[in-house]
Amino acid sequence: MASLNPAMNNLKQPEMPVDPLAQLKSILLTEDQQRIAELEAALAELKAQLSHKAQLIATLEPVIGEVLEKKIGDSKDEMARSLAPVMGAAIKRQIKDAREDVIDALYPIVGRMVAKAVAEAMKKIIANINANLNRTFKFSRWFRQQKARLQGIDPAEKVLADAFPFQLQRVFLIARDSGLLISYAGASQSGPEHDEAHIIGGMLTAIKSFMETSFAGSREGDLNEIEHSEFTIRINSGRYTYLAAVFSGVAGNELDEELRNLHIRIHERFHRQLRSYDGDNSRLQGIEQPLREIIRTTQHIDHEHTAAS
């Protein structure tokens, strides 16, 4: 299209001699020959790349990655379906060849994932329960204090007992490293149970150590609770010992606080003996007293039921 601006006109169409024959010649010969030469060179290079495996891989690598990514993004299921058998076979062979290595490599990862998932779920459940507890606790506190006063029971103790919506069944004081049972108190007073307590102390220590080593590195993985179908074990770790409380029902932070206080009391009185503890329980006379006490205190809720009925 013709321009009205002469300056622009100049720019767009610089003065050049137009020789149709030369143009034709250059199109027909020079440019084509050059193009052919370029194409030949490119073809040779391509051939070389195709025949050279490493070079081929280097060429295709970035593309394949992109294609796969796109394909997976477009049709994830389809990809998975077609890749699964190949991957499955490869992984199976790999596992067969280096079973121990694979297990060793997966172990901590799986452990951490499980620990985290459990910790998350527990946190939610506990938060829920705590919310409920706090509501009911505040609601009935005053009433219970009055009732306790009338019954002649120390109100503070009564409130404490009412704050435990769980049954503390056994408390173990266990030497941290060796797992030896230092002291034990149980809600029921049968003999064989006490003997069994030594094995439970050892097994508990083994399980605790296993979990802590497996989940090392994730803070959520620190073991302070073990759940079983009908009871839970809450653990409070000290310098030389740990306390393990077995209970049924639901225990909130109050139990942790109670255990911590109990542990501190024990430590204050016996720390010298505990530091050099070597399996001689006769040097720790009286250490079972505070354990019995905590069992007794948290049993009050039952006494109330008996008194009421």
Binding site: A175, R176, D177, S178, G179, L180, L181, D195, H198, I199, G201, G202, M203, T205, A206, I207, S209, F210, E212, T213, S214, A216, D278, G279, D280, N281, S282
Partner: protein, 175 residues
């Protein structure tokens, strides 16, 4: 005279298959199943010894908490943990497989690093399968000498010397 009651942690160590679990089963009446051991690699059993007298004429009754530990040949951090606070070690080799006896010095080094001062007793197990004066028994004697530890030839199958291994260990701990 008063009998002193002492609780002690004893660890059974040895390559896979030498007979650790069988020896514990023979030594203690055991009502716990082994299910969780294969999961965590350790199992604790309990056995009270008959009262023993040490050189100071003290009567001591041991309550042994016996830890049957898997995988010591791999020296993992987990096994490391299981040995913490041990008061004595029973190192077990299999008389039908010399390499399991050859593994004992390395295992003892590992054990002594974690629980220094805890005495060792060596056991050549499956004696029921090894002829008297077998080559492997001689190898065991040599290893025991090198580690300055007593050794016994045991069989979890017919029960020979099983009780004695633990008594020997008790006597060493009692000193």
């Amino acid at each position: 005279m008063n009998t002193l009651q002492l609780h002690k942690k004893i660890c059974l160590l040895g390559t896979f298959g030498v007979g650790k679990t069988s020896l514990v089963r023979r030594f203690v009446y055991d009502k716990y199943d082994d299910e969780y051991k294969s999961t965590i690699g350790a199992k604790v059993s309990q056995k009270r010894l008959v009262p023993l007298e040490n050189s100071r004429k003290e009567l001591i009754q041991f309550n042994f908490l016996v830890w049957d530990i898997e995988g010591v040949e791999k020296a993992t951090p987990q096994v490391n943990h299981y040995l913490l606070g041990a008061h004595g070690f029973l190192l077990i080799g299999d008389l039908t497989r010399e390499e399991t006896i050859g593994a004992l010095p390395a295992i003892s080094e590992f054990a002594r690093k974690i629980a220094p001062g805890a005495p060792l007793v060596l056991a050549g197990n499956k004696a029921d399968l090894a002829p008297d004066g077998s080559h492997t028994a001689a190898v065991l004697a040599e290893v025991a000498d090198r580690l300055s530890a007593p050794y016994l030839l045991t069989s979890a199958k017919d029960g020979r010397n099983v009780e004695d291994c633990f008594t020997q260990l008790g006597l060493l701990i009692a000193e």
